[in-house]
């Protein structure tokens, strides 16, 4: 009777101190790392410079990938409607997408952390004001709000559509929605920390509130923020792609992944599938990789996990 019990028992999923990373996370992290590195070093990796109009020729437009019968060995993944090497355009495009996504996360996290700390630490009307504004913003869909922001920006500010200003507008349009999540998380954690004795001790010592928040509370509320930031990075890249696809993002002369997909979308039904499919595949792989890593980070930081 007791034998089956003892054999069923040997060392149940007892977690060791060191992190045991599941293989899927390793694959996800590797994908993100490879795409990130290729994008970061695009000028050195890419066969051509897709931003330099002098390097491409309309005569090469819409060439299929190299492995197809009519393909040209110079253009591994074919060319787009203007004769740009698609692989180069994708690498440069991924660079733009990641930069805008990362920028949006950075802005949203900074704003959200500051507002969340203020709301959680002071409470009262400060808290009510910040959180109600956040509630109103969250009641609007991300894309709708981002369209609204970039639309208004373009109407007020004609330069907004240029390669120089579009990233700034995009970052703002995405961050205006995303900060609320950070603020809510940080606020909740701050409320817990504020009641702890070490914060009360700092108040009795007489330290100013700004210093207590920055030096004592902030380091203790950051771990959930890191998790949200990772998952939001994927969401921000997607939002940027969506906006560019809808035509309010990066201009065709300075394409992001979303812009490339939009251009390709016009040609899909004429059998020229590669302009849309390759950038889309890259986007999917990138977002998937980031999400896998983010999910794992969320589990890793979960206090219940450590309790087990």
């Amino acid at each position: 009777m007791s034998t089956p019990i003892s054999t069923a028992a040997p060392a149940p999923s007892r977690r060791k101190r060191g992190p045991r990373v599941p293989p899927s996370v390793l694959v996800g992290a590797a994908l993100v790392a490879v795409i990130g590195a290729a994008a970061a070093f695009a000028p050195f990796v890419a066969p051509t410079n897709p931003l330099d109009v002098g390097t491409f020729d309309l005569m090469n437009a819409e060439l299929p990938p190299a492995f197809m019968a009519e393909g040209d060995a110079h253009f591994l993944l074919g060319t787009d409607n203007q004769g740009r090497d698609l692989l180069s355009a994708m690498l440069y495009g991924a660079r733009v997408s990641i930069a805008i996504g990362g920028g949006a996360v950075l802005v949203a996290a900074s704003v959200g952390i500051v507002l969340g700390l203020l709301a959680g630490y002071f409470g009262g009307w400060v808290d009510a004001l910040i959180m109600r504004v956040g509630d109103v913003i969250l009641s609007l869909p991300t894309i709708l709000l981002a369209l609204l922001v970039s639309g208004v920006a373009r109407a007020v500010f004609p330069e907004a559509g240029t390669a120089q200003w579009a990233p700034v507008i995009l970052i703002g349009a995405i961050a205006i929605h995303e900060w609320v999540q950070y603020a809510r998380t940080v606020r909740a954690a701050t409320m817990v920390e504020t009641r702890k004795d070490y914060v009360r001790a700092a108040r009795v010592i007489g330290l100013p509130s700004a210093r207590i928040m920055a030096r004592h509370i902030l380091p203790n509320v950051l771990s959930p923020v890191i998790v949200i930031a990772t998952i939001n990075l994927a969401a921000a890249v997607l939002t940027e792609a969506t906006l560019s696809f809808l035509g309010v993002g990066m201009p065709p002369t300075y394409p992001s992944l979303g812009t490339l997909i939009r251009i390709g979308n016009e040609f899909v039904f004429s059998g020229i599938w590669w302009i849309a499919v390759f950038p889309a595949a890259l986007l999917v792989v990138l977002v998937l990789g980031v999400n896998i890593v983010g999910d794992w980070l969320r589990d890793w930081f979960n206090p219940r996990r450590q309790a087990r």
């Binding site: 007892r14 004795d197 070490y198 001790a201 700092a202």
Partner: protein, 578 residues
């Protein structure tokens, strides 16, 4: 049938443990012994207390008996018999033990040991119907008689209550009723009164004693409180590092302990019946502590003869703003007109049961809560104008829970240097670091402690660090809010001695808040007793204990466990225990 049952029950021990050892097998293959060589016999009707400091292994024994050992702990060897019935421990766990049926359990916190979603009736009846196979009506009748037995008023009505509708004492009574409901031979009570006020503690102890006598059930009482042991237990075993170092009848062990550790532990118990100059504590300090302490300058001495702290008609209300317009506005008055003054160099005590408002008074004085009305003046300076950092740094505070009192992400040195630098008491950060090191030595720690993070320290060490941090701004006044109530008794004695020494060297004044009358008696020059947000009696320490005036004070004193059985420590050898 009841008769024959009784005959065997009186001769067979409720619990018999021989050579029990529990090991923790860690992931890297090392084995650490949590407890070893435990022999323990509890006869029916006996209360056997297991005392020791945290980490001594007393709870491990209780958990092993109830089959609640947590991985990777396993019973390595030993024989356990409960009510004569041997327990299978071959798998490393106590197999076949039915918690609730063979062993009843009473845990520390009555709030968390009842499920908040079920009524008292369903919690009691569920166990009985499951283990005893009673019908719904039989179970209900039995539940009623149990509630009567544990002294809950209006048991009919209480059956329908949810845990949150009961007071802490009533909840613990329900937990005891649940522990009794299947007539176990043995009850394991793990710190059953630690979360309760003294008055409730006295009632619960009386109840447990009575139940042991009437029902002939053996009780294993796990506790750290010597007063509780002296009050109810028949036998006591003193544990040190997983072993029982001394065991025997309470009168003998507490009255004339033989083992050096037992003697030290019993000597460290703060006495309510005599005032000692210093508590007997195992000395842990390095010789440089006294020298460093002299370097810690207090800002005291320039008081000009006035009171160090004046509290005048202090009132604090919570809430009061209705949630909806037109809703009923009912503020809770936590502090209701409290006035007292503390003389320079005095340790002023504030005692009372939980909820009496003593902590709110401390918070109001420290500026953590804004008083509704009334004033607090520190040597004549109004603390309401708190922007003036002069008054602010002159008053510092030590908190109850040493585990949350230190920022886990800050090195000790930075935590100590921060206030010193903030008030420009040191010119450079190197000087501040040196000051921090001196403070660490003054509280009996090593200078090198500054390099580490809080998690590297024990509770008592953390409380020393928290005291050092409070000393950083060179305060004239220290507010101590239950500074030792979460510490072991020997550590408590060390911390109390430390606070006294610091007072003697720096001449600062203290407000000392505690629920423990014995601790207050040892520490304070004058004592105020609080009840319901007011001070009901204020007297000198000796006067209060010798001749209490207010009925509530007398009541409180009568609830405190008597220490008559405990050996009086030898006359303190002129404070030379350092």
């Amino acid at each position: 049938m009841a008769n024959t049952g009784k005959v065997t029950a009186m001769t067979v021990p409720s619990l018999d443990i021989r050579g029990l050892a529990v090991n923790y097998e860690l992931a890297d293959g090392t084995v650490s012994a949590a407890v070893s060589d435990i022999d323990l016999t509890i006869m029916p009707g006996q209360i056997h207390a297991l005392v020791g400091e945290s980490g001594a292994g007393k709870t491990t024994i209780g958990n092993a008996l109830m089959g609640l050992l947590q991985e990777p702990g396993r019973i390595a060897e030993g024989v356990i018999r409960i009510g004569g019935k041997p327990v299978d421990t071959r798998t490393g766990r106590a197999e076949g033990i039915v918690p609730g049926k063979d062993v009843g359990a009473i845990f520390q916190d009555p709030m968390t040991s009842l499920n908040p979603l079920f009524t008292v009736e369903s919690q009691l009846c569920e166990t009985m119907r499951f283990h005893l196979g009673l019908s719904k009506r039989q179970a209900r009748e039995r539940a009623l008689s149990l509630l009567n037995a544990v002294g809950i008023p209006e048991p009919e009505r209480r059956l329908k209550s949810y845990p949150h509708q009961l007071s802490g004492g009533q909840r613990q009574r329900v937990v005891i009723a649940a522990a009794l409901c299947c007539d176990p031979r043995l009850i394991v009570a793990d710190e059953p009164t630690t979360a309760l006020d003294v008055s409730v503690q006295a009632q619960i102890l009386k109840l447990i004693r009575g139940l042991a006598d009437e029902r002939g059930v053996g009780v294993l009482l796990v506790t750290h409180n010597m007063g509780v042991v002296a009050e109810v237990a028949d036998h006591v075993s003193i544990m040190l590092k997983g072993r029982i170092v001394e065991s025997g009848p309470v009168d003998r062990v507490l009255g004339a302990p033989e083992h050096p550790y037992a003697r030290a532990l019993i000597g460290a118990v703060p006495r309510i019946d005599v005032k000692l100059d210093r508590l007997l504590a195992p000395s842990e300090e390095n010789p440089s502590a006294a020298a460093a302490r002299r370097k810690v300058r207090g800002a005291a001495g320039d008081e000009g003869g006035g009171a160090a702290l004046d509290v005048e008609d202090l009132r604090v209300e919570y809430g009061g703003v209705p949630f909806l317009p037109g809703g009923k506005s009912k503020a809770f008055r936590a502090v209701d007109g409290v006035s007292f003054s503390v003389k320079p160099g005095e340790i002023f005590g504030l005692v009372g049961e939980s909820g009496c408002g003593k902590t709110t008074v401390a918070n109001a004085i420290a500026g953590l809560v804004t008083p509704t009305s009334g004033g607090v003046r520190l040597s004549g300076e109004d603390l309401a104008s708190r922007r003036r950092s002069g008054a602010r740094k002159a008053l510092q505070m030590v908190f109850q829970d040493p585990y949350s009192a230190l920022n886990p992400r800050l090195r000790i040195r930075s935590a100590l240097a921060e206030p010193i630098l903030f008030y420009k008491l040191a010119a450079t950060s190197a000087e501040a670091a040196e000051d921090a090191a001196v403070l660490l030595e003054a509280v009996g720690l090593d200078r090198s402690a500054g390099d580490r993070y809080p998690h590297a320290f024990s509770g008592g060490q953390r409380q020393r660090i928290a005291i050092a941090r409070a000393l950083g701004p060179r305060p004239r006044f220290l507010v101590c809010d239950e500074p030792t109530s979460s510490l072991d008794v020997s550590v408590q004695a060390q911390i109390l001695n430390l606070l006294k020494d610091l007072r003697d060297v720096t001449g600062m004044s203290m407000l000392f808040i505690s629920h423990d009358l014995a601790v207050v008696r040892q520490m304070c020059d004058r004592i105020a007793v609080m009840k319901g947000g007011r001070i009901v009696e204020l007297a000198t320490s000796e006067g209060l204990f010798a001749d209490p005036q207010h009925p509530y004070t007398r009541e409180l004193l009568s609830f405190a466990p008597s220490l008559d059985k405990i050996a009086r420590p030898p006359a303190p050898a002129n404070g030379a225990s350092l």
